[in-house]
Symmetry: C2
Subunit: 323 residues, 2 copies
Amino acid sequence: MTTQRPHPEDVQTVGILGTGVIGGAWALHFLRMGKDVLVWDSAPGAEQRLREKVAEKWSVLEQLGLREGADPARLRFAASLESFCQNVDIIQESTPEHLPEKQALFAQLDALTPDHVVISSSTSGLLMTDIQQDCANPGRTVVCHPFNPPYMIPFCEVVGGEQSDDAAVDWAAEFFQLNGKQVARMERELPGFIGNRLQDAIWREALHMVDNGECSVADIDKAIAYGPGLRWAIMGPCANMALCGGEGGMQRMLDHFGPSLKEPWTRLEAPELTESLYRDMVDGFNASTGGRSMAQLAEELDDCLIRIQQVLREYRDSHGIER
Amino acid sequence: MTTQRPHPEDVQTVGILGTGVIGGAWALHFLRMGKDVLVWDSAPGAEQRLREKVAEKWSVLEQLGLREGADPARLRFAASLESFCQNVDIIQESTPEHLPEKQALFAQLDALTPDHVVISSSTSGLLMTDIQQDCANPGRTVVCHPFNPPYMIPFCEVVGGEQSDDAAVDWAAEFFQLNGKQVARMERELPGFIGNRLQDAIWREALHMVDNGECSVADIDKAIAYGPGLRWAIMGPCANMALCGGEGGMQRMLDHFGPSLKEPWTRLEAPELTESLYRDMVDGFNASTGGRSMAQLAEELDDCLIRIQQVLREYRDSHGIER
């Protein structure tokens, strides 16, 4: 029996497997998105804990904005793994990061779940190529790695393993993008994915600096939160670098600051700025701006920088936080 | 003739040397702070260009918040370098990054300026140890490296060279902190200082990823702006990592995620998590929180995350920006 996969817009019921920190937050996210959420977690007390968390966090979801139909009453727990697998339009799995257990779980899910249903893992440290190896129908298994908590932080990475069908990965990317996430649809697996790699680059440089007595933990946090971190909430590091090039954008920036890549300004050595990388950065940046001019990007950066700092100042003043 | 250095609170006149992108923005910053700003720049048309910039950006300074007495009419240009040096309580130098020229300039400034006046450089790429070597009184020469534009981005690093007096560096750190900046007072010189090192770690990892076809420029920017960048506008990477440890904070986080430092999640290898580094991170983080609990930090993060995303959404909606 093969049923066609529904259009991502037509997903009614999201299956949440595991209700720990990540799985529970996924459940909140899809309740906020106005979906039916069916949960499976065999741990004693899981249902009560999740229902308490939903009640506790509902006002946060309201502040973030509820989609039509969003209702905590749409949270249900399945009576068995079998009935869970038979009654969902997509599964988001968030269990502990142990490869053998996850391989066995995916084989079981694959056997119990209709072939057209996409089975997605929240894994941050494992590769779907490894997880899917005992599945009879691995084509519909994918990874959607969120940032925590997924109801609050929009970014996620969607990627398949070697046996995943491109169509299933595309479907998942569209589904999550339609449902409040900002998706990077990756063409290949990469340890650490994208966001954690970038985050780890800062974290490791910070650890080296503290290890060598070059600066304090407080200095590192101050440097980012009152420095580039303010800008990165508005647009990412590439756009911010391109804005250093003024009207000339990324191209002018690379021309001007390319030589500084040779400086020992971090322990990470830069790649050679070849003609090919130069073109990839310039073309890639131009493709990323949605046709907006550098002047428009600069205006957005300035306006939002002012507003964000006002928000932070008002919050801190009203809470007596000195910073 | 030796005059005592005034208390940092009592500085009346800030001397701005150079009116390029950085120097001009410093002039705006100190006008916003309610200071007299005396400028020296011998380039033809410099005065007219800066006055136009002040007029153009004054509304931005108003939105950022003006200190008492802030007035564009308090901007004056010196008739000569000699009269500039004789009539300022501190000099902030922002000329091009050429060491021989900067060495000669500092020797000249040192000869013309009363001994008690601190002479500060905006340099990002040179070391004060090198810049100050031809000064007769190098003790009062320091670096204050800002992020651009300094009237908008609060963070700066204050550090001396080998011949700088600790008292002068401390004085400068206090002066900038009193005048709207968030200062990291560094104990030693470090190529790239703090902020640019952390920023470059991300930028170089991003270049490697594009170079290897691992992801696109758009993916990198999306990963940061909709991921950790949102959190880093509120508190820096160390505090955000510590929040992953829940009530256990940094200590629990290092216990739990320490092993992931061995993962190839960036091209930058992490240092060994020795007992000494472990203690430095835990104690350094605890010293950085101003006595606030993990629960208070978590509440600030959540509340500000919601508000910042509302601000960004409202701005983008009102400007028809799809993102």
